[in-house]
């Protein structure tokens, strides 16, 4: 049976997560001897439902979702790797808003009250001394809707990913208020992980190891030679210019999960941060071992060796 990997992107995304698509198209999975099939769904909740329904073996989901499911005892999941720890969020605003200090009193698009993007925005703004409560928050759901509302001039600023920003065809009148680096510095939170059920972990452990191996190998290759990514993405996304990929590749230079993307320290921080959020009201915090499985990554690193610099593999 093929190993079905559920992704929440409809085509290779403009973030390091794209290694999952590229590993398939560039034959990395094949070379590890695993027959991977990508199952594309719209959003994380659907990915979870699909996983639960046995429509896939592994899913790339939001950390908040994984934590909620585990903490509420609804679904036993284990994160085994994170091809793209952060989604490179940033805050974009209308030109008229010169800096962060000008934000209070203006409208700010969020997903919904209690969503991850709201929590992150709050933290980033707090780091710059701005109280989110002073803003007029407008709940708008999906990232694309937020971007569209910004472009249409219906809101003054919002958090979006660098990928979303890059795809915006016409950015005149808008600018980047908080760039991805400053954003991540203020809120160093892992946003997405690949999870499997314990059952898959025992029954198809070899396949899981092979998948993680393929992802790590590709990440290392790209980290070594960004042109691999630029070329592959250029082929997959003809709608964007090569220059876009080049600048994105430069931004992502230090972001490839060359060691499997699982850092105990980062994950613990992420969990703590999440449990403080509104969505987690009434949930008891759980330990790392309840939702992360390091053994797969360790097995891969044992075989491939640990890469220095990027992506700390601390346990």
């Amino acid at each position: 049976a093929p190993f079905r990997l559920i992704v929440t992107d409809l085509e290779p995304p403009l973030v390091p997560n794209s290694v999952m698509d590229l590993a398939l198209s560039l034959g990395y999975f094949e070379r590890e001897g695993v027959d991977v099939e990508l199952v594309r769904v719209q959003q994380t909740p659907l990915a979870v439902v699909a996983l639960q329904a046995g429509e896939g073996e592994m899913a790339n989901v939001g950390v908040d979702t994984a934590l909620q499911l585990v903490a509420s005892g609804q679904l036993d999941l284990r994160a085994v790797t994170s091809p793209s720890k952060s989604l490179f969020f940033m805050i974009a605003a209308q030109e008229a808003i010169g800096d962060v200090a000008a934000l209070p009193g203006h409208s700010f698009g969020i997903g919904r009250v209690g969503s991850v993007d709201q929590g992150l925005s709050e933290q980033v703004l707090a780091a710059q001394g701005i109280d989110m409560a002073a803003l007029d928050q407008v709940a708008l759901g999906q990232p694309a809707a937020r971007a569209q509302a910004l472009a249409a001039g219906q809101i003054d600023a919002t958090t979006m990913s660098l990928g979303t920003w890059t795809t915006l065809p016409d950015q005149t009148g808008m600018h980047i208020l908080v760039d991805p680096d400053a954003y991540f510095a203020a809120a160093p939170v892992v946003s997405k992980v690949n999870v499997v059920t314990p059952q898959v972990l025992t029954e198809r452990r070899d396949d899981v190891v092979a998948v993680v191996t393929a992802l790590v190998k590709l990440s290392r290759d790209i980290a070594a030679d960004p042109a691999i990514w630029i070329d592959a993405m250029g082929a997959a996304r003809p709608d964007l210019a090569r220059a876009d990929f080049e600048s994105l590749a430069a931004a992502y230079a230090k972001s490839w999960s060359v060691n499997g993307g699982l850092s105990a320290r980062e994950l613990a921080f992420t969990a703590d941060w999440n449990f403080k959020g509104e969505d987690f009201a009434g949930l008891e915090p759980v330990g790392l071992d309840a939702w992360v499985d390091f053994t797969v990554a360790d097995e891969v690193l044992a075989a491939l060796g640990t890469a220095p610099d990027l992506d700390p593999a601390d346990r």
Partner: protein, 254 residues
């Protein structure tokens, strides 16, 4: 004509009981994360009603829903009458009605946001956009199916075109229009949720988004059930109207 409603009510209760049993079984089979068991939903309902979350959300959604629906009726009914009564207009516009119908609502959302923003007006537009077509198409068909003999009689009695409309075609189309209203009312309810998801998130649609995204399935189901009950309530209201309109269907004479 409809006396002795007791058995019908009894049957309905039986259906409800059967549905609850199926639901309970489904929750056992699917696992309670996907389908919460009835008692969990019941508890959640008590909590939600207790802390007032629901009232506020329902009131906000109802405001949008009712306004949007009235807008849909105010547009769909006269347009359907004109399309049905003036064949040139009807046959010219007919394909465009269908094109509009077949276009996913979400395709219009960017346009609506640009033109109307994210608030009340945008939302009622989404609701009206969904509800208008069943009303329009049913009215249109109702008028086109008007009794040609009665129309001729009215003309012979001196009815001007407007009078033929209001005295013959409109009441004659009542059964069609009622179906259109029923469909429009329920589709409008769905579109209220869509509107609340795709423009500024709020109301019952907002609750659905929150509970759905955080996998709180019990309160999620409470909201779904509230929507279902609203659907029933609106349909029963329409049935009262229908029963009044149907008084003349008594039997068959001569």
């Amino acid at each position: 004509m409809e006396r002795g409603n007791q058995p019908i009510w009894l049957y309905r209760v039986l259906v409800v009981v059967a549905l609850v049993i199926v639901w309970w079984l489904a929750s056992l089979v699917a696992g309670r994360n996907l389908i919460p068991a009835p008692p969990a939903v019941f508890e959640a309902a008590i909590r939600l009603f207790g802390d007032g979350t629901i009232y506020e959300a329902t009131a906000s959604s109802l405001g949008i829903y009712v306004t949007g629906l009235l807008l849909a009726i105010a547009i769909g009914l006269p347009m359907g009458l004109i399309a049905g009564g003036v064949p040139v207009v009807g046959r010219t516009l007919d394909p465009f009605f269908n094109a509009l119908m077949a276009t996913p609502r979400v395709a219009f959302i960017p346009l609506i946001i640009v033109l109307l923003g994210l608030g009340f007006w945008a939302k009622i537009t989404v609701v009206a956009l969904g509800a208008v077509m069943p009303i329009l198409i049913n009215t249109y068909a109702g008028v086109r199916n008007g009794d040609a003999e009665l129309v001729e009689m009215a003309r012979s009695a001196g009815a001007r075109p407007g009078q033929v409309f209001s005295k013959i075609l409109l009441p004659g189309a009542a059964p069609f229009i009622m179906v259109g209203l029923r469909l429009g009312a329920t589709i409008g309810l769905i579109n209220t949720v869509v509107a609340e998801l795709y423009t500024a998130v709020q109301g019952l649609g907002g609750l659905l988004a929150i509970y759905g995204n955080t996998f709180r399935m019990a309160p999620y189901f409470v909201v779904v059930l509230i929507l279902a009950c609203l659907g029933i309530a609106v349909a029963e209201l329409l049935r009262l109207v229908e029963r009044r309109l149907d008084r003349w269907r008594i039997g068959t004479g001569g």
